[in-house]
């Protein structure tokens, strides 16, 4: 237990430091100052999608173990189908690129980089004067989790390290057993399709591209980090390529739907008197 506590506190420390630095460097002091003064109104404004996301997360936390039981009993057992489909791609990835430095990089990205990547947009988009983007982000996160949970239940499959252990080393756990204590708390080994690490990372990267005029500095960082997380899920032996493809599809679908659900124009009227508007419009629905 103390091992878990130490990795959690280390994670909290590093990620909050990174958030602080990124907020100042990317969001900028002026927006942060506005956010600070206007925080209450802005949080109230996003209450509906925020409550939606919280509801999905609670449902996931509460229902996960019983849904897991349903999955064990009735889920499609696709481990072998996935393996037959893609063969030893993950093994190839590992044997081709594995070095201790690369493993260290991907392990860190998988744990620290991912948490930062998913957390930072909350601050960045809340700091925008108009609420459309943050609302869409919340909706997209909720969709990722909700649909992801449904797919976890429908599909019962184990990841590469569980099927081809002699070819795919469980690198995260082999080199960083501390991380294992953490991810063991969060992850169920039979939930590999789709990769939620992939889908949330790709969601963030997609938003970063769509809002590149607001945060030009964030776009390349987010895309780089997201790509690293995606590769890390496979490089570390946790996910199949199929899971990554599924996760990417889930991400793009969630972003698309979030633009359908949250109307940018309605929001624009509300923010009409905002001087910040001159900085540039939101990217429009894709």
């Amino acid at each position: 237990m103390s091992r878990l506590l130490s990795v959690v506190s280390s994670l909290a420390l590093w990620v909050s430091s990174a958030l602080l630095v990124a907020s100042v460097a990317i969001v900028g002091p002026r927006r942060l100052y506005d956010l600070w003064n206007d925080a209450r109104r802005r949080l109230w404004e996003i209450r509906v999608p925020f409550a939606g996301l919280v509801a999905v997360l609670i449902a996931s936390a509460v229902g996960r173990s019983s849904l897991q039981t349903v999955s064990e009993l009735f889920g499609l057992r696709l481990t072998w189908a996935i393996y037959a489909l893609e063969g030893n791609f993950v093994a190839w990835l590992q044997t081709t690129f594995a070095t201790p430095q690369v493993t260290m990089y991907f392990s860190s990205v998988y744990v620290y980089g991912y948490v930062f990547l998913v957390a930072f947009p909350f601050i960045a988009y809340l700091a925008l004067p108009r609420a459309a983007t943050i609302k869409r982000l919340l909706v997209a996160y909720a969709l990722n989790y909700g649909v992801g949970l449904a797919l976890y239940t429908v599909v019962f499959a184990h990841g590469p390290r569980n099927v081809i252990p002699e070819m795919v080393t469980s690198l995260l756990f082999t080199h960083n057993p501390d991380f294992m204590a953490l991810t063991g708390e969060v992850n169920e080994p039979a939930n590999v399709f789709p990769s939620l690490h992939t889908s949330l990372s790709v969601t963030v990267a997609t938003f970063a591209v769509l809002t590149r005029r607001k945060y030009p500095l964030w776009t390349p960082i987010a895309v780089w980090l997201a790509a690293s997380v995606v590769v890390a899920t496979m490089y570390l032996g946790i996910h199949w390529l199929t899971d990554v493809v599924g996760g990417t599809a889930l991400a793009l679908g969630s972003v698309y739907l979030s633009y359908r659900f949250v109307d940018g124009d309605a929001d624009r009227a509300e923010a009409d008197d905002d001087p910040d508007r001159s900085e540039g419009g939101e990217a429009t629905s894709g």
Partner: protein, 619 residues
Amino acid sequence: MGRDRGSQLVLEIAAPPADTDPNAIRIARHFAENLNAVGVDARISTLGRTDLRRKVLINHNFDAYVGQFQESEPFDPDAMYAFTHSRFVTEAGWQNPFGLSDVNGVDELLARQRRSAGDDRREAVHALQQTLGELQPFTVVAFPDPLTAVREDRFENWTDRQPLSVGGLLGLERAGSVAGTEETGTADGDETADGNDTEDGDGRSIDGLELLGDMPLTDDGEDADDGTLRLVTTDERITENWNPIAAEYRRYGTFTSLLYDRLALIDDGEVVPWLAAGWERTDDATVELSLRSADWHDGEPVTAADVAFTYEFLRDTSMGAAETPVPTPTFRGRVSAVESATAVDEETVEIAFDDVNEAVAVRALTVPILPEHVWADRTAAASIAGIEFDAETTEAVVTNNEDPVGNGPVRFVEATPEESVTFERNPDHFLRRSADDGATSEDGTGPLAEIPERFRRKPAFDRLTIEVMGSDIAAVQAVGDGFADATVSSLGPDSVTRIGREADARLVAGQSGGFYHIGYNARRAPLSNPRFRAVLASLVDKQRLVDVAFDGYAEPAASPLAATPEWVPAALRWDDRETDPVQPFVGESGSLDAEAARDRLREAGYRYDEEGRLLAPNP
């Protein structure tokens, strides 16, 4: 099994994922690859421990599976009785999961080895192994070295044989040098049995006899959890279920054996009178046992009626309420050797055996004794929503047995499902109570006269915690880092190299009875055909698997009794062989001769289509 891809034969191989069992999945893939090479569409289905067991042992809804036999230690040949006798073909549990019907006289050989003794029994056991080798209801792959990582700075006297058996855990000693208490005698002596004498001698003079149970020596002035034995496992089942007879949840039943005493304990082949202080034969088939004075963990006394109840209950857990008996899914073979168990008085039981030899009779004494006042209420029919049961079953079989009321040397404290479980020493257990009762125990005539010295006044730990880890590698790491004292579950070859790197951890490779095997469902064609199964067996390169998948930490085997070589005829011993003596691998080491294997299948009457796919036989 089905014909969904044209009419090609499809075989599903059920196996646990690598996190659960690092070796089984490699056997499954080796087997699947070679099956594919001979034109079978083999698919592996990875399943968690309980799902796998439920599918195979309870629902019999499988084609083939890869798993381990449920005996942790080398075992008596009679273990094959339940595993292969056709009388159990309709029952759920560890009894004949293959659906093997009585062909080639297996039943008669099983019965003969039960009845007879000496050379006659040996002959029957030899013939049995030969027949099973030809019939291949299951293909024995290898006996693994049960690898365990232990550290000795807090507890010592780990046996190299079976460190995680009941006897191994009870034989542990508190490490004197690190505990830093008044226990001075132990620091410099490797011979811990002697050290123990000194400790207890001191203890008695300081604390007095009565206090020993409740106030362990090291409690005063020491860190509170210093006396906690901390184990780590990848097997979460002991944190959820404490039912000693549940086939899906027990691996070897070590911890439920610490909760529930048996009449006799078999430790390293030695029979130790346990809950029964002793026994004598009253006639050819009857034994009278006198029980030790003991209490259940809830304070009720353990009586002869509990013992009589247990044997009747395990034969039919519905106690006559169900239309057909619902026997226990584990210990079935042992119970079937007992004709009746009768309480003569409060402390005396008479057990009548069903014409069996002494080894089988002793084995029948090694079932967990259950409290009648708890289990008599669990005879009602049970079904769990969503979980199909092929046959009628009872509460007793499916209960998680929360807050277990046992009588063993440890009792249940608390558990967090999938995370951890805590047990504590039972201060009222006879190992402690009797030892403290009188000085007579030292001169060999006291109540513990038959109990080896290493078990007296045990267990040495105050508490026993078992924490669940995500993988064998993490478990080894926890031992190496000093977060745990030993690993419980099987370790794969990847974790072995890590033990060497950890200065304080040591690798123990003992002896196992839990052989890896591929089991076939003989209820389904073409697996019902022994000739077909024989060809499947010849697709398994056991030597290669041991070298590669087990990294040498296993012994390839042809016979399920290979752990007890004295029972194996020379023709079935592996010794220095390259391949199986009965079902030799088709090919040279490592590479399958697929064409030769296909020819064998053709000879056995199976057909291929023009694309080389093996056709499923018509029903």
